[in-house]
């Protein structure tokens, strides 16, 4: 479970859960502090990635500023036994960034969530039409964001 076996893991995770420095040797300061070589730091990071603790190592953009100014959370009603089929189809679309089956209260009822990023309302509508026809689902709601109240990365350590 928790991959915090050593203090080194902890320190590395603490360093890479945030924003690494934009400089020629971004891991040098960390290596120095931990008395390791930069190569060893990189190997550690790769190990964490192989174990799945790190899902991805990448640049994360502010999608609004990058021109993807429409994002929609779409919640679909799906039979649980049909969810895998639908989830796989949705995952195949580049515009779908997240797709989950959720355990939802009955009063809400829409249990399959997909997050969609696009450059216009028209794109969203066209994409939803495609998703609906490819999956055969017709019961969904679009839950658009009106205002961002908070968006940060999780600090685990």
């Amino acid at each position: 479970m928790i991959r915090m076996k050593t203090n080194i893991d902890r320190e590395i995770i603490k360093f890479i859960q945030g924003d690494i420095p934009v400089e020629s040797h971004p891991f040098a300061s960390l290596a120095d502090r931990l008395n390791l070589s930069e190569e060893e730091i990189v190997e550690h990071i790769k190990d964490l990635q192989d174990e799945g603790v790190i899902r991805r190592f990448a640049a994360i953009l502010r999608h609004y500023n990058a021109g993807f100014n429409v994002n929609a959370m779409v919640a679909w009603k799906v039979a649980v036994e049909d969810a895998d089929r639908v989830g796989k189809i949705m995952a195949g679309f580049d515009e779908v960034s997240h797709c989950y089956l959720r355990d939802v209260p009955e009063e809400f009822g829409y249990n399959l969530f997909s997050m969609i990023h696009a450059r216009s309302d028209e794109q969203i509508i066209a994409l939803l039409r495609q998703l609906a026809s490819r999956t055969g689902l017709s019961n969904y709601i679009i839950i658009k964001s009106v205002r961002e109240l908070r968006k940060v990365s999780m600090e685990y350590v």
Binding site: I13, P26, V42, V53, A59, H63, N65, L149
Partner: protein
């Protein structure tokens, strides 16, 4: 709105999808794009300053880290939104929080070291604010990959 040229867009695509895990990642990126490392660093700095790049680093798997996470929703009176948002956002495990166009108008994500701790945080929120929080934890994940296709041509 943004003045990204073709190189910037190639750089963003590369950094989102195949960031090199090496001791000098920016030099490796520079070689791939056939520009200098200095130019890569300058372009990245500029795109951080104008708010396009949020950060560069690891996206961790909360479950593998031993954490519990859930999507939450609640209904708040329009005029109370900011007050309630401040109460919700005071929790460090709340990483995303949006006002949304739905009967449940506040939607946030909560990540906590355990299920019990998450439930305690929600109980505390419900005591501090007049809200009933619905929790919607993921049972299955079909996709998590935010990668925005920036294109690499001069025109879209």
């Amino acid at each position: 709105m943004n003045n990204l040229d073709r190189r910037d867009r190639q750089l963003l695509n590369l950094m989102q999808n195949e960031f090199p895990l090496t001791t000098q990642p920016y030099l490796d990126i520079a070689r791939q794009l056939d520009i200098s490392e200095e130019e890569v660093l300058n372009r990245i700095q500029a795109m951080k300053q104008n708010g396009i790049i949020r950060r560069t680093g690891a996206i961790l798997d909360s479950k593998k880290m031993g954490f519990y996470s859930t999507l939450c929703a609640c209904r708040v009176q329009e005029e109370q939104i900011d007050k309630v948002a401040a109460i919700i956002n005071a929790q460090k495990g709340v990483t995303h929080n949006y006002v949304r166009d739905h009967y449940y108008n506040i939607w946030f994500t909560l990540t906590a070291p355990s299920h019990d701790e998450a439930m305690k945080i929600i109980r505390d929120m419900q005591q501090a604010a007049p809200i009933k929080v619905l929790t919607m934890p993921a049972i299955k994940t079909y996709k998590i990959k935010v990668s925005l296709d920036m294109g690499d041509k001069d025109e879209d």
